[in-house]
Amino acid sequence: MLAYLIRRLLYALPILIGVNVITFALFFIVNTPDDMARMQLGVKRVTPEAIEKWKSERGYDKPLFWNDSAAGADKLSDTIFFGKSVKMFALDFGRADDGRDIAREITLRMGPSLVVAMPVFALGLFAAITFALLLVYFRATYLDFAGVVLCVGMMSVSGLFYIIGGQWLVSKIWHLVPISGYAEGMTAAKFVILPVIVSVLAGIGSSARWYRTIFLEEYTRDYVRTARAKGLSERWVLFRHVLRNALIPILTGAVVVIPTLFMGSLLIEAFFGIPGLGSYTIDAINAQDFAVVRAMVFIGSALYIVGLLLTDISYTLVDPRIRLS
């Protein structure tokens, strides 16, 4: 098991390096630092001195890969690639355009992101499974048909509609919770409840429909026929046999997103003014803060790879037939 984990971690390394190279190419080779400086300072009438100043403030005034003017090992390390990309592996992300340390900012903002993302994940999963189970219990009836129609309708509505509509109805008309904002501690609840409900509603249509298909597929298996032939009641078959077996693909499929919960949700956080990593990313995109976007891409990929690893482990936990070796 441990050997397997170590091997998987070693496999993850080339992928992270690949992500790093892609982001580096995207940010420094597609456009030179000069282009970025001109864009940030405004295209017209930029003096070369202003561009040089912008670059040296951010450490972009070095060669890309090989520094001839430096001595010894600095030839490799005193470059943009080393300073901006290699250091990310040591979780050193440098400073944002407003001078703040990105790594510190990230640790501060993880909390609020998690406070919203975790209930969304748990409640969303629970609600979708319950709803799908209900549809399967009443399968091939008008109730099932109406439920599927509802699911398709709900997944055809833009996520923006849920957010804007929810804010308008709950906050503006009913005055139940504040429209946006955030507070520490228990008072966070009143700010968090609406974003959570909105996200769960926005996601339930597609996931409930998908889970329903998984449940129905499970129903065609032989063990279900055996259970019925043995005289078990339909309810017992559904809850003791079908539910348990169908939960394996559902839960293992959900595990992959758990680490990425740290990243929060861009849209929800931006709309509801939650100071998490999602809104941090949005602000960085709007301010064209390249360093922050680069850092977020790296962290997001690393967390996704952790998620893949967790998925593998969770397979062995729920399905005794699978052994990691």
Binding site: P14, I15, G18, V19, I22, T23, L26, F27, V30, N31, D35, M36, R38, M39, V43, V152, G153, M155, S156, V157, S158, G159, L160, F161, I164, W168, K172, T260, M263, L266, L267, A270, T281, I282, I285, N286, Q288, F290, V293, R294, M296, V297, G300, S301, Y304, I305, L308
Partner: protein
């Protein structure tokens, strides 16, 4: 007038031509005809197809672009307006030109806000074209129905071109990885795992930011602002495509792995048929249903994604009329007193109809083409 052929127009008409060609081929092959007959038997599917056809017709008419001749240009050397119009603009001339001063409610006769009038103090001024704006007018007095109809083309382009741009690469790499195996398989798998592990929104954000830098630094690339907006739209399609081709590639790889071991492929190989020919003649036709299902299944998600991305500021050019830009400009209007709800409602309603039709049609197609579904 002078015809303008934007890149997206060319691709859109190529797409329609390819669909027609595909239909001709399908009508000659027996098993494809059978599949389409199954689609035709689904009443919901055909209803959805009819709605989609109307949307595509609007999109096609909106893709015939031209620059009108200026009325005061001298004889012999005509001068053309910098504004690029489409055939749809001509058809909708009454909607396009009947602008008001600012907001007005659907089918209203008076403006939304009171103004100081010359004769009788403050009152709601009458509209210039009362009762003609089915969905009201927006902040600068443009007809909302006109804006929603213009948004359709953007949505359709994002929904279709995105999948099509990356389709050749996804199919080629997927088949190659599955058929060749060995180190080729490893390299391709590494490629898509790496791309896949970057969170989609962030990769799109990074790529769009970089594209903006490139476009802003090279204004000389584009003759008109329409061309610039078009280039940005296509670039967005390409970027979205890069983030979404990995799923299809993986599916195709898996299917090819399965097909490679089947008797008819083994027989072809034993008879000395070359690898490329086996891929082209024997494997590709048998994975085409996966490709088609992927195209229609991705469509609705992409239309929805466009709205979100444009809201975040990494979508289409702010001057391109799209559902996303409409929602983005309209979202603050709910806070007004009295509320301005009609632009938002119109954008969401049109988007809902388009996406719902696409979802229903995709389901009908999947049921008809997926061999696993046929038996049930």
């Amino acid at each position: 007038m002078k015809l303008v052929l934007l890149w997206s127009d060319i691709l859109f008409f190529l797409l329609i031509a390819a669909t027609v060609a595909g239909a001709v081929v399908a009508s000659r092959t027996e098993h494809l005809r059978q599949c389409w007959r199954r689609v035709g038997q689904s009443r919901v599917g055909m209803g959805a197809a009819a709605v989609l056809a109307v949307f595509f017709l609007i999109g096609a008419v909106d893709s015939l672009h031209f620059r009108p001749q200026l009325p005061d240009s001298p004889q012999g050397e005509p001068r053309y307006s910098a504004e690029v119009l489409s055939a749809l603009d001509v058809l909708l001339t009454p909607l396009r030109t009947r602008t008001e001063k600012t907001y007005s409610a659907p089918l209203a006769t008076h403006l939304y806000a009171k103004e100081t009038l010359d004769d009788a103090g403050r009152d709601f001024p009458p509209l210039q074209y009362p009762g003609t704006h089915l969905f009201g007018t927006d902040k600068v007095g443009q007809d909302v129905l006109y804006l929603t109809l213009k948004s359709i083309r953007t949505g359709l382009l994002i929904g279709t071109l995105t999948t099509l741009i990356m389709l050749p690469a996804a199919v080629f790499l997927g088949l190659l990885a599955g058929y060749a195996g060995g180190w080729i398989d490893d390299v391709i798998q590494y490629l898509y795992t790496t791309l896949n592990s970057i969170p989609g929104v962030l990769l799109i954000a990074a790529a769009v930011l970089m594209m903006q830098v490139a476009i802003d630094n090279h204004p000389e690339w584009f003759a008109t602002s329409a061309e610039r907006a078009d280039a940005r739209l296509l670039a967005l399609c390409a970027i979205l495509g890069i983030t979404s081709w990995t799923g299809l590639c993986r599916l195709l790889r898996g299917e090819t792995l399965k097909l490679r071991e089947l008797e008819y492929v083994q027989a072809a190989r034993a008879l000395g048929v070359s690898g490329t020919r086996i891929l082209w003649r024997h494997i590709l036709p048998n994975v085409m249903h996966i490709v088609m299902i992927a195209i229609v299944m991705d469509f609705s998600g992409l239309v929805l994604a466009e709205a979100v991305l444009s809201y975040v500021g990494i979508g289409v050019d702010p001057n391109t009329i799209s559902f996303g830009t409409m929602i983005n400009t309209a979202r603050m209007e709910l806070a007004r007193e009295p509320m301005v709800w009609w632009s938002l409602a119109a954008a969401f309603a049109f988007m809902f109809v388009l996406v719902l039709a696409a979802n229903l049609f995709a389901d009908a197609m999947r049921d008809a083409f997926d061999p696993r579904m046929v038996d049930r």
